[in-house]
């Protein structure tokens, strides 16, 4: 009976103030979508880091006029360096072959380049990519080296972009969450006001505090749950439409987002959404109900 009463009160409460309820659900879902997106992005960057850092190479480009003695010295220096895991050498012809594959879409460009205009290089994998600076310090002074490029710095630029997108969506999530909290608080105030007579009578006849508060808190929780489900649906649609279709080209670089990770967002968003609204509602009641 009491459960039925509480549930009925929740439905009546949500319906009584339906515009506010809708506003509450929308802000909640936008906020949770942004939160979900940023968590997914975080997980994604993590995956990409482990994936790409294993592949990272340091390229040591040699001068065009490098002589055999210099090359041998460089070769020797790389081989004797304890940080090096793997080393490959690429001469001008091999570099040109790779170049042709890389730019096969623009043959005019390829034709304007000859093998001699590309530098020969060493490709070095470090056992710990983080120690690039130490490695570079020992090599860079050698004669015959034109340039040392650490792919990690390139990759880090990409990750930095991801990072700032992630931070941005977190900020949006936080701002929307703040708006959602204010709306929850306001909705609860309105609900408490419109039920002030019932609440007064309940207090008078000795209804327990949880019984008085439960409909209000549950009202906020239900709105939070609806908002989180909507947020999850938005996230899923966004993933399918953007990454799997429109921006598919990007995903070849980005490493695909596993569906499992997206599904993981449902309990996360539902948990955050309902917990945050429950706490907000409860705190608001402390101030406006004085049970």
């Amino acid at each position: 009976m009491r459960v039925k009463y509480v549930l009925n009160e929740v439905l009546v409460g949500l319906w009584r103030n339906v515009t506010m309820t809708v506003a509450m659900i929308i802000t909640m879902s936008v906020s949770l979508t942004m939160l979900g997106a940023s968590v997914l992005m975080y997980m994604q960057v993590d995956r990409m880091k482990t994936f790409y850092y294993g592949e990272i190479e340091v390229s040591i480009f040699l001068n065009d006029d490098v002589d055999d003695a210099q090359r041998a010295a460089i070769d020797q220096a790389i081989d004797s360096n304890p940080l090096v895991k793997e080393k490959t050498y690429e001469n001008k012809e091999q570099a040109f072959e790779r170049f042709k594959v890389l730019w096969e879409d623009s043959p005019d460009f390829v034709n304007s380049i000859s093998a001699s205009s590309l530098p020969e290089s060493y490709r070095v994998k470090l056992s710990d990519p983080e120690q690039y600076a130490d490695f570079a310090k020992e090599i860079e002074g050698l004669p015959g080296i034109r340039q040392i490029i650490d792919q990690r710095t390139l990759l880090d630029k990409v990750f930095k972009i991801f990072n700032s997108i992630q931070v941005m969506s977190l900020v949006v999530a936080a701002v929307m969450a703040f708006a959602a909290l204010l709306l929850v608080g306001n909705t609860i105030q309105v609900a408490a006001y419109s039920k002030r007579r019932e609440v007064a009578v309940m207090k008078l006849v000795g209804a327990s505090n949880w019984f008085i508060q439960a409909p209000f808190v549950l009202e906020a929780v239900v709105a939070g749950l609806i908002g989180s489900v909507l947020g999850f649906v938005a996230l899923f649609i966004g993933k399918v439409v953007l990454l799997d279709n429109k921006l598919q080209a990007l995903t070849t670089i980005l490493t695909p987002i596993p569906n499992g990770n997206v599904w993981l967002m449902l309990p996360l968003l539902a948990g955050v959404g309902s917990l945050v609204s429950a706490v907000t509602a409860w705190v608001t009641l402390r101030f406006y109900l004085k049970v």
Binding site: L204, V205, G206, S208
Partner: protein, 226 residues
């Protein structure tokens, strides 16, 4: 049943205490009037007994329970042993007489079946048989107060507190309400009534405790308004 021991209550920002070192004892089954001019502190007694406010100093004992040290989460359960009636009835306007009384039962966890058995009985007792399904706006002031009395009494409380229950009623209706309270008192329920209706106090000839400026100035076993 009710014991106030050296109770002083000073509201924040008030220049003088509403109750000043008041001690009084009320036995089970008594019918007691608290009388006095407005602002004398008589309503504060009701609030203390319900633990709506806590005394500044002193001890309040109700039903052998020390209310002063009662933990806040125990207050709801404590209040179930006390019925309350007010000047403004405090009925829910969107519920019928039956539903108003049943609401009080349901929110403390009684089943609908219990309500179906008990509510008609208590409405009959207060003289509202046949008017169960009227809304408060379809009832007269006296009838509304009867609904309120029914709601206060449906849980068979040990104590009934009435704060100016006849304040909004004409003299004849007031007498009827008093007869009802008297009937309830005869079932063994302790009745504490705050009023400044001299007519009623003089007719009932029950114990009268007069309060002035927060102090008890008179306590008479079969008193009049004075």
């Amino acid at each position: 049943m009710i014991q106030l021991e050296n109770v002083t209550k000073t509201y924040p920002k008030a220049s003088r205490p509403s109750l000043d070192n008041v001690s009084v004892g009320i036995e089970k089954g008594e019918f007691v009037f608290f009388i006095g001019p407005s602002g004398s502190g008589k309503s504060t007694i009701i609030k203390l007994l319900l633990k709506e406010v806590a005394p500044t100093s002193g001890k309040v004992v109700v039903n052998a329970k020390d209310v002063t040290s009662l933990r806040s989460w125990k207050i709801p359960h404590f209040r179930r042993s006390i019925g309350c009636v007010f000047q403004d009835f405090r009925l829910l306007p969107n519920r019928t007489a039956y539903e108003n009384v049943a609401f009080a039962l349901e929110v403390i966890g009684k089943t609908k079946a219990v309500a179906r058995r008990v509510v008609p009985e208590v409405l009959e007792l207060v003289g509202l048989g046949g008017k169960e399904h009227r809304y408060p706006h379809e009832l007269s002031g006296g009838e509304q107060q009867r609904v309120a009395v029914a709601r206060a009494f449906v849980n068979r409380p040990l104590i009934l507190l009435a704060d100016e229950p006849t304040g909004n009623l004409d003299p004849d209706t007031s007498i009827e309400i008093m007869r009802l309270l008297d009937r309830i008192n005869r079932t063994g329920t302790t009745v504490v009534m705050v009023t400044h209706d001299s007519n009623i106090v003089n007719q009932m000839r029950r114990r009268v405790i007069e309060i002035e400026s927060g102090r008890i100035v008179r306590d008479q076993a079969r008193g009049v308004y004075g």
